[in-house]
Symmetry: C6
Subunit: 78 residues, 6 copies
């Protein structure tokens, strides 16, 4: 039964090479960028990353690797 | 003996495709949505997600993948 | 030598089907309920759950699955 | 070379059945009790547990299982 | 399919021996140094490390090993 | 390629039996002591431990086992 269950990571794999929004835990901050790589821990590698603080655009960060445990949510850019 | 113990994840599997409430750790925030996928780390993939802050309805978020370690509780929508 | 050491999880297994108090990390909150299931990560499934905030009774929550890493302590109801 | 390295858990095993002080992460709280069981995650089972807040004696808690990741330090009672 | 996915850790391996910026979770602090070693948990060993608090230069720290779970992001020095 | 990469834990093994500074996550606290044991999770066993709060010397703690996930950095005593 478990084998037939779709895994959450599949949704993230489907977002590879597209723009995503990564919400950081316990900070009013989000990082938006193009998803280049992701692993089973939800560590992600973003390119063309831009920071958003309280939903207003912040710095341009370029290349960033984010540690998965500090990510609250991953979502496609609307 | 351990083999006969029912696992907590089973309760979550039983909620697949129904509406659940995910309470976020250390934030006064809950995400309610339809549970599309869950794995052994309690990472969840929700669709038709709505945010609740201090129990009042917030933004509509649509598709969201939530990192399991930042989830405090998962419960069926009452 | 290690094989003969009693494991902490054994104490929790012994509480299955009885009322327990789960203390949440970093919040002045406890959840009391009947322990239906627990796994090696200390994820727990409670039924008939009631919330306590600063030791005063809060909402009735019913069915709840709690992520183990956000649990500070588990104890039998006195 | 690694095989000959003494592991930190060994120090904790050596404290089994004696009084220990468990310091909780991010709270000004310590739990003192007799160490009945410990596992590789540093989950601990204490009996005759007493709480200390800011180093002053608090409630008597009796039996407690503490989740290892929320423990900052374990030390023998001086 | 998963086998062909590029992993985020690869990006970090590519930064070995060059200057990186490590952003610490929940603190307004970054550590900049030369990346000498990194493992699958994103634990890193830096040399010639300098601290930045709120983006202004702080102490010189020299050799530092940083625990991966407390790292928010790793990025190349611009 | 990965096999030839030096691991961060190697740096810590090299500090066995010497004085180290362990910086605690999210607290203005450091523990300095002689490193007696360390494992792959960066759990450490210190002896002759002294506490530093905001860089001023605090209590003498003696024997302490520190949970690795709550450690921010490990460094040799300068």
């Amino acid at each position: 039964m478990v084998a037939s269950i779709v895994l959450p990571i599949k949704k993230v794999y489907a977002l590879l090479d597209s723009k995503i929004i990564v919400e950081i835990k316990d900070e009013r901050r989000k990082l938006q960028g193009r998803l280049v790589a992701v692993d089973e821990y939800l560590n992600v590698h973003l390119e063309e990353t831009t920071e958003f603080i309280n939903d207003s655009r912040g710095r341009t960060l370029g290349t960033v690797v984010i540690r998965g445990n500090n990510i609250l949510t991953i979502a496609p850019t609307l």
